[in-house]
């Protein structure tokens, strides 16, 4: 099947404006601006069943429809923070197929009445930002961005904005704070960005992959898109496959593809032909899914199905853990990540990740006791449901499921 998002894999040089145009690029944007009302664009996206690819899976069209039309100006912000361990899809899109992403930003902006859009890239994407800046100015020169587009009254500017090393800035309100020149710490919600976003104005925040879907949805129609994937998860998804597989990488597949196909058919199977012990389907923020029978591997990867095996699809960054790995090591890793990335704003996460990191370290170093494992589980549970944003909640996922589902590894670690 031809790619919808990773089209650079099929069409050489699609990252040059001429090739992109020749491949039908910008027609959807032009058509939207010249022939459609903003609300109609939103309607198409709504009907396509497109859900956010940033992790939460929120219906994109519905989010656009929430924009507060009583308060102006509006902004669109593309979330290119891509910092979830195991996620590396947005970077490939931006490097490989930048114009389709930018066109998606442009269409979203038109749909919600924004004349300025920002792309928030993690600071490490320094080169990507420079590359996008070039592409943006090419679009300006070609008349796809700027004042009075296609002879209408609609104007649009797109700017890149670099973060500087903070996972939390992927959380949309922290991201907005960061663009505002502040410490990237989440805001109290509600109000949500569609009513109170950048500079206190209505703002739509969408993931890079989400937006990259939009041009083709507009070009080919909602039904075309819905025809792919499953009932609750329409379309295609880029699965970032990493960990102990032979061929890690991004795989663009319809929702509903099974873990088994991803790992064995596309990923070439497990390294050293070991067996899969656990799967983290949503990066470091995942529950650890115990792979103890075939049913798990045969689970289709869509939002609803993954939930049935005790996990969440999230950003679909599938980390494969084989039977050589001890889970206490895994959660020691994830907790160190979260302790390092906790913004420090709320007590629960700031103190909880700090405490958990001491415990996992002690356990992993073989200095822990059974009581420490119990305490770790207890501390993680004490955090659950009490954090200001999802980062703190994420930090407990691997701990709780790791201990509950792989207790043996911990028992061994404390005995050793």
């Amino acid at each position: 099947m031809e790619h919808i998002l990773l089209r650079h894999r099929d069409i050489p040089d699609i990252n040059t404006i001429n090739v992109y145009k020749k491949s039908g690029g910008f027609a959807a944007f032009k058509n939207a601006v010249t022939k459609m009302k903003p609300g109609e664009v939103t309607e198409v996206v709504k009907n396509s069943g497109l859900r956010g690819r940033g992790g939460a899976g929120f219906p994109t069209g519905m989010k656009w429809a929430f924009i507060d039309n009583k308060n102006w100006p509006h902004y669109v912000v593309a979330n290119a923070d891509e910092s979830e361990p195991g996620t590396f899809k947005d970077r490939e899109i931006m490097e490989g197929n930048p114009f389709q992403f930018l066109e998606g930003v442009a269409i979203a902006s038109y749909a919600v009445g924004a004349n300025v859009a920002y792309i928030y890239l993690r600071g490490e994407f320094w080169q990507v930002a420079a590359f996008l800046d070039e592409k943006i100015s090419e679009m300006e020169k070609a008349g796809f961005l700027g004042e009075k587009l296609f002879g209408t009254d609609y104007s649009l500017k797109i700017y890149t904005h670099l973060g500087a090393g903070a996972y939390i800035c992927g959380e949309e309100t922290a991201l907005l704070e960061s663009i505002e020149g502040k410490r990237g710490q989440p805001r109290v919600r509600p109000p949500f960005p569609p009513s109170y976003g950048l500079y206190g104005k209505p703002t739509i925040v969408n993931n890079v992959e989400t937006l990259t879907n939009v041009p083709l949805i507009l070009a080919n129609g909602a039904d075309w898109y819905k025809s792919m994937g499953t009932a609750d998860s329409a379309g295609v998804k880029i699965f970032s496959l990493s960990g102990r597989v032979r061929k890690p990488g991004n795989y663009e597949l319809p929702f509903g593809t099974t873990f088994r196909d991803l790992i064995y058919k596309y990923g070439g199977g497990v390294q050293d032909s070991r067996s899969v012990k656990a799967i983290m389907p949503a990066g470091a923020s995942s529950s650890l899914i115990l792979v103890d029978d075939d049913k798990v591997l045969d689970t289709p990867m869509d939002y609803a199905s993954v939930r049935t095996i005790g996990g969440d699809l999230g950003s679909a960054s599938v980390i494969v853990i084989d039977d050589t790995v001890s889970i206490d090591w895994v959660i020691n890793k994830t907790i160190h990540f979260f302790r390092h990335e906790s913004c420090g704003k709320c007590t629960t996460c700031r103190e909880g990740t700090y405490w958990m990191s001491h415990l996992t370290e002690r356990i992993h170093e073989g200095k822990g006791s059974t009581a420490d494992v119990d305490l770790l589980l207890n501390v993680a549970k004490q955090m659950q449901g009490k954090c200001l944003c999802a980062l703190g909640e994420f930090s407990t996922m691997a701990v709780v499921t790791g201990i509950e589902r792989f207790r043996k590894d911990f028992d061994k670690a404390v005995k050793a």
């Binding site: 904005h161 020149g181 960054s317």
Partner: protein
């Protein structure tokens, strides 16, 4: 010299991205500019940036302190930031790091005696399928090096030392 005098074009271009009443937004790009030459942001530079965007020096310092890519101390000319996070670690990043330390003769967090390289362990850089990998942060910005071996890395180090700048 102040940033506005030294890089008038860049400063103007940065400020033009944001609504004039929200020029505070420019603080992050300006800090990158301030960090360009010395690899860190001095107190004077923070003051300078504060002046441009009209916030206090403390507000600027609070931002420098929050984000890991800003540094308030002088260290190696290049920071070699190796990802040792979970996905990379599953693909040998930790061993890579150990070998690198042995070859460079420094520990994580230390700087080579010639002041060229500071070695750091960092969290996920969105290149998990291409481990071992690292990025360099130096005068010419940030660059990724993926699917690396220790040999290739040492070649890079040598080249950096020789030319004083990044190789293509």
């Amino acid at each position: 010299m102040s940033l506005a005098k030294k890089y008038p074009k860049e400063v103007k271009q940065i400020l033009s991205k944001y609504p004039p009443e929200h020029k505070r937004s420019a603080v992050m790009p300006l800090l990158y500019l301030a960090q360009r030459e010395e690899g860190y942001i001095s107190k004077a530079a923070m003051q300078d940036v504060a002046g441009i965007v009209d916030i206090t020096e403390t507000d600027v310092a609070a931002i420098v302190g929050f984000y890991t890519l800003y540094h308030d101390k002088k260290e190696g000319k290049y920071r070699m930031q190796v990802c040792t996070d979970l996905p990379c670690a599953l693909r040998g990043a930790e061993q890579f790091m150990d070998n690198l330390c042995a070859n460079l003769g420094i520990k994580v967090g230390e700087t080579t005696p010639d002041g060229m390289i500071t070695l750091e362990a960092v969290t996920c850089l969105a290149a998990c399928d291409k481990a071992p990998m690292f990025q360099t942060q130096g005068p010419d910005g940030i660059k990724y090096y993926e699917n690396m071996t220790v040999d290739k890395t040492m070649e890079l180090v040598e080249a950096l030392k020789k030319s004083g700048t990044e190789v293509k």
